[in-house]
C-alpha cells in the first residue's frame, strides 16, 4: 500500500501541533515549521499527482480493514490535481501571511496547516461520513482564519458564514443519514453500487438526499441562491486568508463533481435530476458573479464576485457531463483558484496605500509603484476576465468548445455576456485605482519586491498554465475520462488486486 497517501494529511497535522507546542512567543520557529510544511506538501502533492498520472487508482485502507467497512483514502487523477492546486496556492498565501498578518491574532500557524489538512482530506477520502469530518475540519479552521485579525466587518461576515455552515453541516448529516438508512453503507464506491441497485420505491428518497447534498455542497461552493455569505467574507478577511479561501469554494465543486460522477451518475434516477439542474444553476451563478463584479464598490468584493463567477464557470463545464466539459472545468479550476488568490493578495498593497479610500473603487490619487502593481493587476485582470493570452482565455475557449452550438447557445451567451461585464468591471476598477489626478500628498509606498512576491508567484502561475497548457490539458482530459468511467474507481476500492500485485 502506498503510504504517501497519508502525507498530505499527517504533515499539516503534525506541523500544526508542533506550532501549538511552540506557543505564541516563538513566531520565527512557527513560521519555519509552517513553511517547511507547505513546501513539503507541495513536493508531496506533486509526487502524488505523479502517481495518479499513471492512471491507476491508489486505495489506502486505513486500519488494514477491507472496504467498504472502514475508511479508505483514494487517490485518482482528480484528487492529485486538486492536491497540487491547493499546495501551489498555500505556499504564496503563507509567504504573504508571514509578512505580518500572521501576528494579528492568535494561532495562525496552527490554523493554517489544519485548514490544509481539511482540504486535502476532503479531496482524498473515499468515505462519505469521513468527508463530513474533513469538511468540519476545514470549516472550523476557516472560521478562525476568517476572523483572524478581528474587527467589526470581519466578525459580522464571519458570524454569517459560521451560522450558515453550521446549518449546512446539519443538512449534510441529514443527507448522509438518509443514504445510510437506505443503503446501509458509507463507502462512496459501495454507495454508488447500492444506489444504482436500489429498489424503485426508494428512488424519491434517494433523490431527495442527493439534492440535499447538492444544497450542502452548493453552499460551500457558493452557487446562486446560497452564495450570499461569500462576498462579505472574502471581502473582509485578511488578504492571505481570502486568497487561501479561493480554493474553499472549489472543495464544494469537487464534492459535487465526485457525487455527480460516482454516487449519482447521470444515467441513474438521482443523477438525472442533478444533470438537469446543474447547468441551469451553473449559468445563473455565472451571471450572478458577473453582475456582482459589475456592481462591486470595493476591489475585494469584485474579486469575491469573480470567485462566484468561477464557480459558475466550473459547474457549466461539469454540468455537461462530457469529457470535454469536465476537462475544460478542470483546466479552469487551478487557473481561477490561483488567479483570484493572486488578485486578493494584490488588493492588499493597493488598498493599503489609499488611506481612507482603502480598496473602494472610487477615483483617488493614483497608487504608488504603478508599474509593478499595475502590471500585476493587468495580468490578474486579463487572466480573470478570460482575455487572451493568459490561461483564463484558454479555459474559456475549452469551455465554449465543449458545448457546440446550437445546443450551447445559452452557455455561450452567458459566458460571453459575463465576460463583457467582467471586462467592464475590471477596466473600471483598474482605471479608478491606477489612474487619477496626481495629488501632491505623498502616499506610503511599499518598498522592495518582497511584499509583492506572493502575488507575483500566483499570477505567474497563470502564465505558466498558458505555456504548459498542452500537457495540462492532456492531464485534465485523462482525468475527465477517468471520472466518466466510475467503474474503475469502484473496482479499485471494492475489489483490490491480490496482495503483492500493486504497490
Amino acid at each position: 500500500m502506498n503510504h504517501w497517501l497519508m502525507m498530505p494529511l499527517l504533515v499539516p497535522l503534525v506541523a500544526a501541533m508542533i506550532n501549538l507546542l511552540l506557543g505564541g512567543r516563538r513566531m520565527g520557529c512557527q513560521r519555519l515549521v509552517s513553511l517547511a510544511c507547505s513546501v513539503g506538501l507541495l513536493a508531496g502533492s506533486i509526487i502524488l499527482m505523479g502517481f495518479a498520472h499513471s492512471g491507476e487508482m491508489y486505495v489506502y485502507r486505513l486500519g488494514d480493514w477491507p472496504a467498504p467497512f472502514a475508511i479508505v483514502l483514494v487517490l485518482d487523477r482528480l484528487s492529485g490535481l486538486l492536491l497540487v492546486t491547493t499546495a501551489l496556492l498555500a505556499l504564496p498565501c503563507l509567504l504573504q501571511a508571514m509578512d505580518g498578518d500572521d501576528g494579528r491574532g492568535l494561532h495562525f500557524h496552527v490554523l493554517f496547516p489544519i485548514q490544509l489538512l481539511g482540504i486535502n482530506g476532503a479531496f482524498l477520502t473515499g468515505d462519505l461520513f469521513n468527508l463530513f469530518v474533513f469538511f468540519e475540519i476545514l470549516l472550523i479552521a476557516s472560521y478562525s482564519l476568517a476572523l483572524h485579525g478581528g474587527g467589526p466587518e470581519r466578525v459580522r461576515a464571519g458570524l454569517h458564514y459560521v451560522v450558515l455552515n453550521l446549518i449546512g453541516s446539519a443538512l449534510f448529516l441529514l443527507a448522509v443519514g438518509t443514504l445510510y438508512g437506505l443503503t446501509g453503507t458509507l463507502n462512496m464506491a459501495d454507495l454508488a453500487g447500492r444506489v444504482a441497485a436500489a429498489p424503485t420505491d426508494q428512488a424519491a428518497l434517494l433523490r431527495a438526499s442527493g439534492l440535499v447534498l447538492l444544497v450542502v455542497f452548493g453552499l460551500k461552493a457558493g452557487i446562486l441562491p446560497l452564495h450570499s455569505w461569500l462576498p462579505a467574507l472574502y471581502g473582509s478577511a485578511l488578504a492571505p486568508v481570502a486568497a487561501l479561501f479561493a480554493v474553499m469554494t472549489k472543495v464544494g465543486v469537487y464534492a459535487m463533481l465526485r457525487a455527480a460522477t460516482l454516487l449519482f451518475p447521470p444515467q441513474g434516477p438521482v443523477g438525472g435530476t442533478l444533470a438537469a439542474l446543474l447547468p441551469v444553476l451553473a449559468l445563473l451563478t455565472l451571471a450572478t458573479g458577473a453582475i456582482g463584479a459589475l456592481g462591486a464598490q470595493r476591489l475585494r468584493t469584485l474579486i469575491a464576485s469573480l470567485v462566484i463567477l468561477s464557480v459558475g464557470t466550473l459547474l457549466a463545464g461539469i454540468g455537461q457531463f462530457t469529457a470535454s466539459g469536465f476537462s475544460a472545468a478542470l483546466y479552469y479550476l487551478p487557473h481561477t483558484t490561483l488567479v483570484t488568490a493572486g488578485l486578493f493578495l494584490l488588493a492588499e498593497p493597493i488598498g493599503g496605500q489609499r488611506g481612507d479610500l482603502e480598496d473602494r473603487l472610487d477615483t483617488g490619487p493614483p497608487v504608488g509603484r504603478p508599474a509593478a502593481l499595475g502590471l500585476l493587476f493587468l495580468m490578474g485582470g486579463v487572466a480573470g476576465a478570460g482575455l487572451p493570452p493568459l490561461s483564463g482565455f484558454i479555459g474559456k475557449l475549452l469551455l465554449l468548445r465543449s458545448a457546440p452550438l446550437p445546443d450551447g447557445t445559452w452557455l455561450w451567451g452567458v459566458v460571453l455576456g459575463s465576460s463583457l461585464l467582467t471586462l467592464i468591471a475590471l477596466s473600471r476598477a483598474g482605471s479608478r485605482l491606477f489612474w487619477g489626478p496626481v495629488v501632491d500628498t505623498e502616499t506610503p509606498t511599499p518598498a522592495g519586491w518582497r511584499p509583492l512576491l506572493p502575488a507575483t508567484l500566483l499570477l505567474a502561475a497563470s502564465l505558466a498554465m498558458t505555456v504548459a497548457a498542452a500537457p495540462i490539458c492532456r492531464y485534465t482530459e485523462a482525468t475527465a475520462r477517468q471520472l466518466l468511467t466510475p467503474r474503475h474507481y469502484i473496482e479499485a476500492v471494492l475489489n483490490p488486486a491480490p496482495p503483492g500485485g500493486t504497490p
Binding site: 486500519g63 458570524l159 446501509g184 424519491a204 455569505w229 456592481g295
Partner: protein, 935 residues
C-alpha cells in the same frame, strides 16, 4: 521562423524602452523602440519578396488541439501590405512622438505600450489561425486602452480609454464566438484552409449567426455606426497614438478582417446588406458630423469614421473591383490621415489648443506645416493629383453597379456623392479655418512657431507619398495593390487601371459635384452650423456611455442585493428554501409512496412520555426564546430526553457522551449569558414571523418525512461486519468504541482535531476582548455578596478525587463497556470546572498550573502517533494491535494500541474543554481589571 521573429520581436522587446528609460533618460527609449521597429521592418522584407513571388511564407505548428489553439503565421500580399503600413508608419510615428511627448511624461512606458501594440497588430495581420488572430486582436484592444489612457491625470483620457476598451473588447468577445462558430462549421481554424471553403460555409445554417458575430467584432474595431462613438473620445490619447492607432492601424484591423475573410464570408445577401448598409450609414454619418467638430482631432476622428465606412461599403458591394478599391483606400487613408493627425498634433503642440474657433491664420506663423497639412487635407477631400482622388474615383465608379438593389440602386451613388460633398466641406474647413480666417484668438501659446525640423519630417514623408501615389500610381502603389488585392480575393484580378484620367465619366462628374458642392457648403457654413445645433443637440457620447454604465452598475448592485442583502435571516431562509425544495420536489414527483413496506413497531408509554416531554420542551424553548435564562432550562430538558432516547434504544455510549457534552454546553451558555446585553429582543413583524413559522414547519416536516421514509424501509447494512470483527479483530466487546478507535479511528482523529481547533479559535476570539457584563430581565440587578459558598466548595473538594476516579474508570473500561477516552476527558474536565464554580477559577488555577494547549497538542500527537506506529510493522495507518499479557499476582491483562489512541483522545478533550472554559472565565476577570484600571 522569420515570421515568428517578426511578430515576437516587438512583443518581447517591449519592456526594453521602459527599462532603458530608467537607466538612460529620454532618448534611449525611443531609440530602442525605433531600432526594434526598424529591425522588424528589415525582417519583413524576405517574406515580402516571397509574397511577390507568389509563394507566401508560412509557419504552422499544432499546439493545443483540445482548445483548437494552434500557432500559425502566413504572410501573403494582404498581410504584407498591412505589415508595411504598421511598421513603416510606426517608425514615422516614433520619430514624431519623440518630439511630441513632453519631458514629464513617462516616455519609457509609452514606447513599451507602443511596441506591444505594434507587435499585436503585426500578429493580427499575419495570423493564419482564427483564434490566434483573436488573441492578437484583443491584445491590440488592451494595449490601445493603455495608450489612450496614457495621460491618465485627465478624466477624458481615463474614461475614453475605458469606453474604447469596453466597445472593442466587447466586440472581441462577439468575434470569439463568431470564430468558434466558423471553426465549428469548417472543422478548422486555419485561415488559409478556410479560404477555400467559402461555399461550404456560406451554405451552413450557422453561417448567418457566425457572420453577424464576426461583423460585430469588425465593426466595433473599425468604429462603424452605431459603435463609432468610442473613436472621437479616444482622441484623448496623445496625438502620436491617434496618428498611429486611429488612422493607420488599429481601426484598420476591422476592415482588414473583412478583407481577410472576404472569400469566406462575402457573396451572400446578408453580407451585402449588413456590410454595405452599415458602411453606407457610417460613411454619411461620419462625413456629416466631421464638419461640425470644433476640435481638430475631432474633425479628423469623424472623418476617419466616414472613410472607414467608405471602405466597408466597398467591401460590402462585393465585386472584385470594389475590393481592390477598398484595399487601395486603406493605403491612401492611412497615409493622408496619419499625416493630418501629426499636423494637428503639431498645431496643438505649438498653440496649446485644438479648438478651431481660436486657431486661425496659422499660415502666417508656420507656413511649412500649413502647406503640408493642406496637401494632406486635399487628399482627404479627393482632390485630383492626390492619392485620395484615385481611390475615391474607383469608389464612385463601384457605387454605380449595384443591380441587387433594383429600383433603389440610384440612391447609393447619390449618397456617395453627398458624403463626398461633406468630405470636401470639412477638408475645406480644416484648411481655411486653421490656416486662414484671420488672426488667432487667445491662444494659450502665442506666437506659435514651426516645430522642430525632425518633428515635421514624418509629415513630409507621408505627404510626399500622397503626392507620389496621386501622380504616378502605376510606378508606386500599383504592384503592392495588385498583390494585396489579389491575395485578398484569392482569384485573378479583373482588369483595372490606376490612372488620373479616365475621360469624362460619371465618377468624374460625381467627384466634381462633390468638390463644387463641398466648397459651396463650406461657404454657407454659418447657416448650416445653426441648423446642426438645432437638430443635433450636443449630446456627449461619453457622458451617455458613462451614465449608462453607472446605471448598469447600480442595477447590478440592486440585483446583487436582492439575494445577498447582508441579512443573515434571509440567507438562512434561502438555504432552507433550497433544502425544502430539494426534499419535496422529488417526493412530489415520484409516484411511489413515501411509506416503505416495513411493519411498524409498537409504542410503549415510557417512550411516548419521553418523546412528548422532548417535544414540549423544544416548543417551550421557542415560546420562551426571549427569556434567555429560561430557555436554558428548557434546553436542558430536551438534552435530558435525548439522553433517555439513547438509553432507550440501546446506546449507552451515546447517552454518556451526550450527557457530558450537554452539561458543558449549558455551562458555556450560562457563561455567555453573563455577557449578552441586558435588553431583551423586540418581537419581529407578524408577517415575517408567520413566514418564518411556515418555513420552519416545512423544514421540520421534510426532516420528519425523511425519517419516516427511512425507518419504514428494510435495512441491510455493513454493521454485521463490525459485530463479527469487533472482538476477534479489534479486541473489544464495545463495538461502538471499537469503531471509534479502530474501524473508523480516522474519524475520531479528525473529530479531536476539530475540537482542538475550536478551542484555539475560541481563544483567539476572546483575545483582546472586553465586554460589559449584561443581564437578562427577571434576573436581579445586584448580585449576591457571597462569592463562594462554603457548603459547596467544601463538598466539591471532597468530590474531586471521586470524580477523577470515575473518569479513570470510564477510560479503562471503554474498549469493552460503555465509556472511553472521550467521556473520561469530559468527566475529569467537569470535575475541575466544578472546582472553579465552587471556589473560583483563579483559585483552581493556583492549585493546578498545567498548560492546556500543550495537553491538546500532545493528545492529538499521541493519537496520530498511535496511528503512524503501525507503519513500523508494515501496516497501514491506524492498524490496531492487541494482546493479552499474564502478570504474576495481577492476572491476565489486555493491552491494546486502542488504549493509547484513547489516551490521546482523553488528553485532547480534557485540554480543549478546560481551555475553552478557562479562557471564557478569564474574560470577566480581565474585564473587571480593565474596568477597575480605567476607573
Amino acid at each position: 521562423m522569420l515570421l515568428y521573429a517578426l511578430v515576437l520581436l516587438p512583443l518581447i522587446g517591449s519592456p526594453l524602452p521602459a527599462l532603458t528609460a530608467r537607466l538612460a533618460g529620454r532618448t534611449a527609449p525611443v531609440l530602442t523602440a525605433a531600432a526594434i521597429s526598424a529591425v522588424a521592418l528589415l525582417l519583413a522584407l524576405p517574406p515580402l519578396a516571397a509574397a511577390f513571388a507568389g509563394a507566401p511564407m508560412e509557419a504552422y505548428h499544432s499546439w493545443l488541439p483540445q482548445a483548437g489553439l494552434d500557432l500559425g503565421l502566413r504572410m501573403d500580399g494582404l498581410g504584407a501590405l498591412f505589415v508595411l503600413l504598421i511598421l513603416g508608419i510606426g517608425l514615422l510615428v516614433l520619430l514624431y512622438a519623440h518630439y511630441y511627448l513632453t519631458k514629464e511624461e513617462a516616455v519609457g512606458r509609452f514606447y513599451s505600450f507602443f511596441l506591444v501594440f505594434m507587435g499585436a497588430m503585426v500578429g493580427v495581420v499575419l495570423s493564419d489561425h482564427l483564434l490566434q488572430l483573436l488573441v492578437f486582436w484583443e491584445l491590440t484592444s488592451l494595449s490601445s486602452f493603455l495608450l489612450i489612457g496614457f495621460n491618465h491625470q485627465r478624466r477624458e483620457a481615463r474614461d475614453g480609454a475605458a469606453m474604447a476598451l469596453t466597445i472593442t473588447g466587447g466586440g472581441g468577445l462577439a468575434l470569439l464566438a463568431g470564430f468558434l462558430l466558423l471553426g465549428q462549421i469548417a472543422g478548422t481554424y486555419r485561415i488559409s484552409a478556410l479560404l477555400d471553403m467559402g461555399d461550404l460555409i456560406r451554405a451552413h445554417p450557422l453561417y448567418t449567426p457566425a457572420l453577424v458575430l464576426i461583423l460585430l467584432g469588425a465593426f466595433t474595431k473599425s468604429a462603424q455606426f452605431p459603435f463609432h462613438f468610442w473613436l472621437p473620445r479616444a482622441m484623448a490619447a496623445p496625438t502620436p497614438v491617434s496618428a498611429y492607432l486611429h488612422s493607420a492601424t488599429m481601426v484598420k484591423a476591422g476592415v482588414f478582417l473583412l478583407a481577410r475573410l472576404f472569400p469566406v464570408l462575402a457573396g451572400t445577401e446578408p453580407w451585402f446588406f449588413i456590410v454595405g448598409g452599415i458602411g453606407l450609414l457610417t460613411l454619411l454619418y461620419g462625413a456629416y458630423h466631421a464638419l461640425f467638430q470644433h476640435d481638430l482631432k475631432g474633425l479628423l476622428a469623424y472623418s476617419t469614421i466616414s472613410h472607414l465606412g467608405l471602405i466597408v461599403l466597398l467591401f460590402g458591394i462585393d465585386t472584385p473591383l470594389a475590393a481592390v478599391a477598398g484595399v487601395f483606400h486603406i493605403i491612401n487613408h492611412a497615409t493622408f490621415k496619419a499625416s493630418l493627425f501629426m499636423a494637428a498634433g503639431i498645431i496643438d503642440h505649438e498653440t496649446g489648443t485644438r479648438d478651431m474657433r481660436f486657431i486661425n491664420g496659422l499660415w502666417g506663423y508656420m507656413p511649412r506645416t500649413a502647406a503640408l497639412a493642406m496637401v494632406a487635407a486635399a487628399a482627404m477631400a479627393g482632390v485630383p493629383l492626390l492619392n485620395g482622388f484615385l481611390s475615391k474615383e474607383m469608389f464612385f465608379a463601384e457605387t454605380l453597379h449595384l443591380s441587387a438593389l433594383g429600383p433603389a440602386r440610384g440612391l447609393v451613388p447619390l449618397a456617395a456623392t453627398l458624403a463626398g460633398v461633406f468630405a470636401v466641406a470639412y477638408s475645406a474647413r480644416f484648411i481655411h479655418d486653421v490656416f486662414f480666417n484671420g488672426e488667432p484668438k487667445g491662444l494659450p501659446i502665442y506666437p506659435p512657431h514651426e516645430p522642430p525640423r525632425f518633428m515635421r519630417l514624418p509629415v513630409v514623408i507621408l505627404v510626399g507619398q500622397c503626392l507620389l501615389v496621386g501622380i504616378v500610381p502605376g510606378l508606386t502603389v500599383a504592384p503592392f495593390l495588385a498583390l494585396a488585392a489579389g491575395d485578398m480575393l484569392g482569384t485573378p484580378l479583373p482588369d483595372y487601371s490606376l490612372a488620373i484620367w479616365h475621360g469624362f465619366t460619371t465618377p468624374l462628374a460625381m467627384s466634381l459635384a462633390a468638390l463644387i458642392g463641398g466648397l459651396t457648403l463650406y461657404a454657407a457654413r454659418q447657416r448650416l452650423f445653426a441648423f446642426h445645433r438645432q437638430r443635433w443637440p450636443s449630446v456627449d457620447a461619453l457622458v451617455l456611455f458613462q451614465t449608462a454604465l453607472d446605471r448598469l452598475a447600480a442595477m447590478a448592485r440592486r440585483l446583487t442585493r436582492l439575494v445577498a442583502n447582508g441579512s443573515l435571516q434571509q440567507a438562512i431562509a434561502l438555504v432552507l428554501l433550497a433544502t425544502i425544495l430539494a426534499v419535496y420536489w422529488p417526493l412530489a414527483n415520484t409516484p411511489s409512496s413515501i411509506t416503505g413496506p416495513v411493519r411498524f413497531s409498537s409504542i410503549d408509554g415510557l417512550t411516548l412520555t419521553g418523546a412528548l416531554l422532548m417535544m414540549a420542551a423544544a416548543m417551550l424553548a421557542v415560546y420562551w426564546h426571549r427569556h434567555r435564562f429560561t430557555v436554558l432550562v428548557a434546553l436542558s430538558v430536551v438534552g435530558l430526553m435525548v439522553v433517555l432516547a439513547f438509553v432507550r434504544f440501546s446506546a449507552p455510549d451515546l447517552a454518556l457522551t451526550q450527557l457530558a457534552v450537554e452539561v458543558v454546553t449549558i455551562l458555556l451558555l450560562i457563561l455567555a449569558l453573563f455577557f449578552l446585553p441586558r435588553r431583551g429582543q423586540s418581537k419581529s413583524q407578524p408577517p415575517r414571523r408567520v413566514f418564518h413559522l411556515l418555513l420552519a414547519l416545512a423544514m421540520g416536516t421534510a426532516a420528519g418525512l425523511l425519517t419516516w421514509g427511512v425507518l419504514t424501509r428494510p435495512f441491510d447494512s455493513i454493521a454485521a461486519f463490525f459485530l463479527a470483527n469487533s472482538l476477534p479483530g479489534g479486541g473489544g466487546a464495545n463495538v461502538v468504541n471499537v469503531i471509534l478507535v479502530d474501524f473508523r479511528g480516522f474519524d475520531t482523529l479528525g473529530e479531536i482535531t476539530v475540537l482542538a481547533v475550536a478551542a484555539l479559535g475560541i481563544q483567539a476570539l476572546l483575545d483582546n476582548l472586553c465586554l460589559e457584563a449584561g443581564m437578562v430581565e427577571g434576573i436581579p440587578d445586584r448580585w449576591a455578596d457571597e462569592r463562594h459558598i462554603l457548603v459547596l466548595s467544601l463538598i466539591t473538594r471532597l468530590l474531586l478525587p471521586l470524580a477523577l476516579l470515575v473518569a479513570i474508570h470510564f477510560f479503562l473500561r471503554g474498549h469493552n463497556a460503555p465509556g472511553g477516552g472521550f467521556i473520561a476527558g469530559l468527566v475529569s474536565a467537569v470535575a475541575l470546572i466544578l472546582q472553579s464554580m465552587a471556589s473560583g477559577i483563579a483559585w483552581t488555577r493556583q492549585q493546578w498550573r498545567a498548560g492546556y494547549r500543550p495537553l491538546i497538542a500532545w493528545g492529538v500527537l499521541i493519537t496520530a502517533a498511535t496511528g503512524a506506529g503501525s507503519w513500523l510493522f508494515g501496516h497501514p495507518f491506524l492498524t490496531s494491535a492487541f494482546g493479552h499479557v499474564r502478570l504474576p499476582l495481577v492476572g491476565e491483562l489486555e493491552l491494546a494500541t486502542a488504549m493509547l489512541f484513547d489516551l490521546g483522545v482523553a488528553l485532547a478533550v480534557f485540554g480543549v474543554v478546560m481551555l475553552i472554559l478557562e479562557t471564557l472565565g478569564n474574560l470577566n476577570q480581565r474585564c473587571a481589571e480593565t474596568r477597575k484600571g480605567g476607573a
